[in-house]
Each structure stands twice: as C-alpha cells, then as structure tokens.
C-alpha cells in the first residue's frame, strides 16, 4: 500500500515537471536569456488526440525543445516549422491527422487530428 502511494507520488512529480505552466515559465526565461523562442500550442483536437487542448511545446532557434503537443508523434515536424516561425516572425497554424498523407508519415497513428498554433516569442 505504502509502495503504491510512493509510486503515485512519483507519477505526480513527473506530471508536474512537464505542466504547461512550467513550459510557459521556460519560454519566458529562454527568451529573457536572449535565445530566440517559439511557442507551439494545441488549439483543437478531433478524435483520440494524445495531448489536450492548451498543451504547449517551447522551441528555441537551435531546435531544442521542452514540453509536448502529441506525446512524441509530431514534435519533429512542429520543431521544424517552429524554426521557420522564428526566422520570419509570422505565426502559423499546423494540422496533423490521418487524413493527411504527410502527417501519417510523421506518425499521428492514434487516428485523431490536431491543430497546432506556432508563434514567436519576442
């Protein structure tokens, strides 16, 4: 029983360190330390999406990132787009889903669809 409680506590710590608040705090501190920063946010989901609306991913100009918008499926593609957003400063909306051939390749295999808003922090 005690062991279970410890496991639950450990799981809670893992969830806490990746909360969206911490992502936004990270985005602020990265930007204030002079790194170029983009923020990606899940703005819509359809079907079974791995991360809820409002989930964030913070990306810097060198492709370092923290957080999650899909549990790993499309992060690579989002990071690539984020580097472009940092370069031209224009926000854009990305959509991934099984209906999209390219998106299938990057792997949202759960069958859902997600829309992600990517913007530069400056």
């Amino acid at each position: 029983m005690r062991h279970d409680l410890k496991r639950i506590a450990a799981a809670k710590v893992r969830i806490m360190i990746s909360t969206d608040t911490d992502i936004l705090t990270t985005a602020e501190s990265w930007a204030k330390s002079g790194r170029s920063v983009a923020l990606a946010t899940v703005i819509e989901t359809w079907g079974s999406a791995p991360r809820p609306v409002g989930s964030h991913l913070v990306i810097d100009g060198e492709g370092n990132f923290l957080g999650s918008v899909s549990g790993g499926c499309v992060e690579g593609a989002v990071v690539e787009e984020a580097v472009d957003v940092i370069a031209d400063g224009k926000p854009r909306t990305l959509e991934f889903g099984v209906a999209d051939e390219a998106a299938w390749k990057v792997g949202l295999s759960c069958g859902g669809r997600i829309r992600i808003y990517v913007e530069k922090v400056n």
């Binding site: 506590a9 936004l24 985005a27 602020e28 930007a31 923020l39 609306v53 409002g54 400056n122």
Partner: protein, 230 residues
C-alpha cells in the same frame, strides 16, 4: 507572443491568480485578460465559462477563430480539524486533484500516521492561515466543532476572497456561530457566505459520506453554475 504578455501571464500564475490569453489565430493579435477584468470584457460570458472549467478552448467570435489559453490556479482545500471527516476527505481530495491542507493545533490529532501524504499544520488557524493565504481558488472548511479553533479560521476566511466557506454543525450550532461572528463585526452578507449545515443534502451519515457531501459542494461551487435552467 509579446514577451511582456508572457511575463505578465507567468506573474499572475505565480501569485495564484487566473488569466485568459485571447489569441486571434488568423491575425496573430493577442491580449491577456486578468480574472479581475473578465466581468467588464466583451467576451465575459465565454471567458467565465472556460475559466470555471479550467479548460483552454477554440471559440468563434464574429466569424473569427479565437483561441483562449486558460490559466487557472490549482484549487486548494484548507480544513480546520484533523478529525474523522478530514481523514476520509484526504484520499477523496487526492482523487479529485484538490490540494488538501489540514490545520489543527491539537498535535495528538494532526499526526502523519493518521494523515499520510497530507500537508498538516499544528499552529492555531489564524497563524497558519496568515502563512498560507486564502485566495479565490481556496475553499475553507471548519470541522472541529470547537469555536476556539474553528472561529479564528472562519474569521480569516470571511476576510478573504476564498470561493467556498463551510462549517460543520446543526442549524442551532450555526445560529450561535453567526451570533459570535456578528459580535466580532461580521455583517449578515459576510456570514451568509458560510455553507451551513455543510455539504450537499445527500442524507450523509458516516464521516466518509459527510466528506463526500462537502467535496461535492466544493466542486459544484468551483465549476457551476454551467447548466442553463430548462
């Protein structure tokens, strides 16, 4: 996003105040609405609704796609009384994702053996609450039946903006409590904030059922009223 908006959002969050970031997805324009300014906002109704649910969402306003990033502080329940009801409340609060703090100066009651994994404070309630602070995302519950312990907590709660105040006891007990609070300078509008008899009226008998009734009332106050009357 403007760095000053992000910094303001994080600052509000750090002090346990709610905000909604309003983003026009097509145009890229943004503004931050603080909880205190929601009532006067053109989007007041939808902002309030999303804030109560603590859920970010896409909404359509005048044909425009607007994304609302909702930042709601984590709700907290502060209880006076390390008693049977609060023992039953502890695992339920954990399941409901409510942070529980139990205050009881009787250190024989407030022991980690009786309350594993719960934040316990053995100071007097006024002292403990001065350290904790009670805000708009805190519920205060008085469970000791002892005015020496409950009253200082209730007085602190009434002076705060906490979203829920409840006190255990019959109507008669509560009547005497209201008289004491009135003598301490609290008007009728203040004491009317106290839910007493405490909890949803589910005919609760056991400590666990009373804990359920109280937590049900807290959740309903936090989230409601969302259902429109028929």
């Amino acid at each position: 996003m403007d760095l000053s908006i992000l910094a303001a959002l994080n600052a509000e969050r750090a002090t346990r105040r709610a905000t909604v970031l309003v983003t026009d997805v097509a145009g890229g324009t943004q503004r931050l609405v603080k909880a205190a300014d929601i009532a006067a906002d053109p989007l007041a109704e939808v902002l309030d609704k999303q804030l109560r649910m603590a859920k970010s969402a896409m909404v359509e306003v005048d044909g425009k796609q607007i994304f609302l990033t909702v930042q709601a502080p984590h709700p907290r329940v502060v209880v006076t009384g390390a008693v049977h009801i609060s023992q039953a409340m502890a695992p339920m609060a954990k399941l409901l994702d409510l942070d529980l703090v139990i205050i009881d100066p009787r250190s024989a009651f407030a022991t980690p053996e009786r309350f594993p994994d719960v934040t316990l404070m053995t100071q007097w309630p006024d002292e403990a609450i001065a350290t904790l602070g009670l805000d708009a995302y805190t519920a205060f519950v008085a469970l000791t039946h002892d005015p020496k312990i409950d009253d200082p907590g209730l007085e602190a709660a009434l002076r705060s903006e906490c979203f829920y105040i409840g006190a255990l006891g019959s109507r008669k007990t509560h009547g005497r409590r209201v008289e004491r609070l009135a003598a301490a300078g609290f008007g009728a509008a203040g004491t009317a904030r106290i839910h007493a008899p405490i909890g949803l009226d589910i005919g609760a008998v056991s400590p666990a059922e009373i804990a359920l009734a109280i937590l049900g009332e807290i959740v309903s106050t936090l989230r409601g009223p969302r259902r429109k009357p028929v």
